[in-house]
């Protein structure tokens, strides 16, 4: 790190805006650079000096006076006429439409695709004996066979009643309830299956179903299958924080393992589990997960706190061992 960058980071660090890993880097630089240490002292002095100009809370008189003046001004405003309201509403609609061209284009393409596919299927049925079938209007339309019961989108899902994975394949059968019970079969990566698995992670689903769904999603995450988006990760974090069943929380924790280092939100969820989870196995597992990122100051703080105050002697011991391996620990 050069001194110019260090000076910038000294300011952001002084205002608590520097990420933990960069704080660590900065501290190392400051250890070796007397000029930058002086720079930091001067900045901290400025912060103290600036506090000599106090922020005065507005007094009740000022508030009352301002309020009264505003009330009078608002009372004096002529009521908005109907055409003004209409114009405002139209302006809002136009503005929201400005944000929609991509969605509109996607819908259009999807519509054309679906229409072409439908037309193609219809024509193919009618000319079953013909030697040549008419070419689809859009060559890019995906024509691979769809699962028999696959649905383009699933709405009004009341709950998920069961999940069965077929042995030796990645096919999953999910039974769920709408107005009448339904079931759907598809690959683990299918969006509809994913959506149902996510619904099944919620606390309102039966414990066994939550266990199955969190287990499958966690396995997908660990295998690196389409877990980059926030959706599944969020579902696993919610399960880890709030699921009533320890087994489900444990599976969620396992699924989050690959993201502890890169995603601060995941790290926070694991830290919360280490601090608060009632199950010692989950707390112990959390320590193991956090070990590769123990240089993060918040991780160190939590480990320190657990090593001194956890009820379970084994956990206190394990966290102490992890801490002892980190030279920066005080």
């Amino acid at each position: 790190m050069n001194c110019e960058l260090a000076h910038e980071r000294i300011v952001t660090a002084a205002y608590g805006e520097l990420p933990d890993d960069q704080v660590h880097e900065l501290e190392r630089h400051l250890g070796d650079c007397a000029d930058c240490r002086k720079e930091r002292e001067q900045l901290l002095a400025l912060k103290v000096l600036a506090d000599a100009l106090p922020v005065v809370e507005p007094g009740p008189n000022l508030i009352a006076r301002s309020r009264l003046r505003l009330d009078e001004a608002l009372d004096a405003l002529p009521p908005m006429r109907w055409y003004e309201r209409l114009a405002q509403r139209l302006a809002n609609n136009v503005a929201s439409l400005q944000a929609a061209p991509v969605a509109a284009a996607l819908l259009l393409v999807a519509g054309i695709g679906a229409g072409s596919l439908g037309g193609y299927e219809f024509a193919a049925n009618r000319t079953a004996h013909a030697a040549t079938a008419p070419a689809p209007a859009i060559a890019a339309v995906k024509t691979e066979p769809q699962p028999a019961i696959a649905q383009p989108g699933i709405t009004n899902v009341a709950n998920v009643s069961s999940i069965v994975r077929q042995p030796g394949s990645d096919m999953v059968e999910v039974s769920y309830n709408q107005l009448t019970p339904e079931h759907i079969q598809g690959k683990l990566g299918d969006p509809a299956i994913r959506q149902l698995l996510m619904v099944a992670t919620e606390n309102s689903s039966p414990a066994g179903v939550r266990d199955d769904s969190v287990g499958l999603l966690a396995a997908e995450c660990r295998a690196g299958h389409g877990c980059q988006g926030a959706g599944i990760r969020d579902a696993l974090m919610v399960a880890l924080r709030y699921d009533k069943n320890a087994r489900v929380r444990e599976k969620a924790l396992e699924g989050l393992e690959p993201y502890v280092a890169e995603d601060m939100r995941v790290r926070n969820a694991v830290l919360e589990a280490l601090l608060n989870d009632s199950d010692p196995r989950i707390r112990t597992e959390s320590i193991n997960l956090l070990e590769p990122v123990e240089a993060d100051t918040s991780v160190r703080q939590v480990l320190y706190s657990v090593s001194t105050s956890d009820d379970n002697p084994h956990i206190r011991n394990v966290s102490r061992q992890v801490l002892s391996r980190v030279p920066e620990i005080q």
Binding site: E17, P54, P58, N61, S66, A91, E272
Partner: protein
């Protein structure tokens, strides 16, 4: 699950509930309800006045900014589309008005750690806040007063934008990301502006030694 986990969940629930209530108020205000708008004013007026008062150093100017900001909010609340929080939206209006005010005042600013009250009389900012470290010590109190005046003088040397970023970060304690949103810029730009502001302030205060 542990008690703290449940606490976290209930806090989150409470936060969502407050947010939902505010959204409801905004919708009602958009539909023309004056009572809903008044309720929104009550929620934010204290912060608005505090910011304006500290930035402008004048109760009269702060009152004007309050008036203009909420009138603008009332007029344009129909344009609020929930793309940012209402807090950011109203602060954006206020910071724009304060920036205009700072630009107007830039050439005729006097270096006093005082604010003018409604009748134009001076209120000493430094005298209005007790300092536990120096109470009953007039010499220290005087030093602190002089120092405060020097700080205020140094702040007036910043550009209005630097002044605003420093104000929002140092005195109002907002996150750089929020400041960026309020000033229609990026977090990175807000960070660079803060860096420039602290550099200039240090230079200014070094001259005073």
């Amino acid at each position: 699950m542990g008690g703290a986990g449940r606490d976290g969940a209930s806090r989150e629930e409470e936060r969502l509930q407050i947010r939902a209530q505010e959204m409801e108020l905004i919708r009602e205000a958009q539909a023309g309800s004056r009572a809903a708008f008044d309720a929104l004013v009550r929620q934010y007026e204290h912060q608005v006045l505090r910011l304006a008062l500290h930035l402008t150093g004048s109760e009269h100017d702060a009152e004007d900014i309050y008036q203009e900001a909420f009138l603008k909010a009332f007029r344009y609340i129909g344009n609020f589309r929930f793309e940012c929080s209402f807090y950011t939206w109203i602060y954006r209006i206020v910071t724009n008005l304060c920036l205009d005010q700072l630009r107007r005042k830039k050439t005729r600013r006097e270096d006093h750690a005082v604010v003018l009250d409604h009748s134009g009389d001076e209120i000493d900012l430094l005298a209005s806040v007790s300092d536990n470290r120096s109470f009953s010590n007039p010499a220290k109190e005087l030093d602190r007063k002089v120092l405060g005046q020097q700080i205020q003088a140094a702040l007036t040397k910043l550009t209005p934008r630097e002044r605003m970023v420093f104000e929002l970060k140092h005195y109002q304690g907002l996150r750089l990301r929020t400041i960026g949103e309020m000033l229609h810029t990026t977090e990175e730009t807000a960070k660079n502006t803060l860096f420039r502001a602290t550099k200039k302030l240090r230079a200014q205060l070094a001259e005073l030694r």
